[in-house]
Symmetry: C2
Subunit: 289 residues, 2 copies
Amino acid sequence: MRNFDETTITEAVLERVRNAPNLRQRIISEAIVRHLHDFVREVEPSQKEWAEAIAFLTRVGQKCTDTRQEFILLSDTLGVSMLVDAINHRLPGNATQTTVLGPFHVADAPEFALGEDISGGMASEPLLVEGRVSGIDAKPIIGAVVEFWHADAEGFYDVQSETGLASLAGRGIVRTDAKGEFWFRTVVPAAYPIPDDGPVGDMLKAQARHPYRPAHVHFMISAPNCETLVTHLFLADSEYLDSDVVFGVKDALICELETQSVGPTARGNRVAKDMAALRYDFVLADAGR
Amino acid sequence: MRNFDETTITEAVLERVRNAPNLRQRIISEAIVRHLHDFVREVEPSQKEWAEAIAFLTRVGQKCTDTRQEFILLSDTLGVSMLVDAINHRLPGNATQTTVLGPFHVADAPEFALGEDISGGMASEPLLVEGRVSGIDAKPIIGAVVEFWHADAEGFYDVQSETGLASLAGRGIVRTDAKGEFWFRTVVPAAYPIPDDGPVGDMLKAQARHPYRPAHVHFMISAPNCETLVTHLFLADSEYLDSDVVFGVKDALICELETQSVGPTARGNRVAKDMAALRYDFVLADAGR
């Protein structure tokens, strides 16, 4: 095989990648080649544009560190992450809707007892979070693992601090009680720009797009025989609900902050001062639908 | 804009990137989004496969250094580089055919006088290279800048050595004389595997593909008012001419090595011992066709 021109090269490459012994590898390889070549044939990049694309992707990879995932940002800002999320979560109607994982999830977040303050000293207005986890049959799920992470009043995550991972804050894990309920105390997160000092920020500027996400708390909730739920709760009074840079907002995930007075809550917990309250009941789909 | 599902998100992202003030940026952004989303919709990657793709691209970026360009290898091995090359070189019939730049070009290669030994101590059989550069009107081009680089008998380029760029070898620049001719002495390059100790090598293994390129010498030839020519000369007795991992071989670029005896050459140059000879006459297309 030789002497390929712009009309024959795609079939030549397809013929080569069809050797992949793993069927899934073969399907994905063939699709990559077809779509990538179709893209090139459509836009007819100059050699200079091709070199700029190589340099851009290289910068995206080199911007990645243990606490910065620029390729996830690229996937998020091109709507790919939400598309993959949608394809993977064709859920039964009453299950809680999903949204993107984002780049700020950290493995091995600390576990807390119910009711603890997980803010780690982040400065902002105090916030009570109360939730309930059930299956689609409405039965409470006991011992569900509820992981959460959020930004501070300036819109920064703990891992974005100069000191790095030494001081986790605004993230943790709790487990639901015998009623399938959980609660913790923290502070109200702010809207924020995704990290835009790298190549993805350059792309957004070139596309005349702002880099902001509306204020939200991330949740990842798992339990035996249930599909792990990755979602956010968005704060209803936040800016950017209609222009989230990663296309992640769903109406069903937007929560009005309530006001909780000092003393007992309706769910039988207790706070030592007045604070805002975020309440949501999560419904997990069955695994292996 | 919110509540996107797998059928509505593509239009939402397209609407956003249409803000790009630069027309070309807008065209490319829209095409990226459409083709990327089409690809995702076709293969329906699992979340795990999406995460693997993110990790793969990150590794490709992080493998890049001053002397290793893994994204070019990825583009080359998926046939994208040759497709871009073909699109950008719809040349008049008698112009020399083009092929990929590859990842081993180095800026600021050393300049040599005609006839010098440019091998830099690479061990292999001695080789005489004689060439002529003309325009499509067949008139010789005087003072054309002829840059060349090639691997050694083991298939390694200078920049792949442990000592790195400290010792350039097997590459350089000469200028054509009053007859449009050039010559230099070096050694015969071998076929070689592209660097396959990184993620692109992993991809080739998963696709059950070998990583080899047939033996060749790279040329980049430029002259005023001419389109710069990026090409190779392939050695006719090399393995892998029919399965070049980057799809770069064209019959018109394959050369039989000749035998040159000690003494004068047909073109009026002179060698001090018997050696192999590679001869080719290059034809540059006009610039700005």
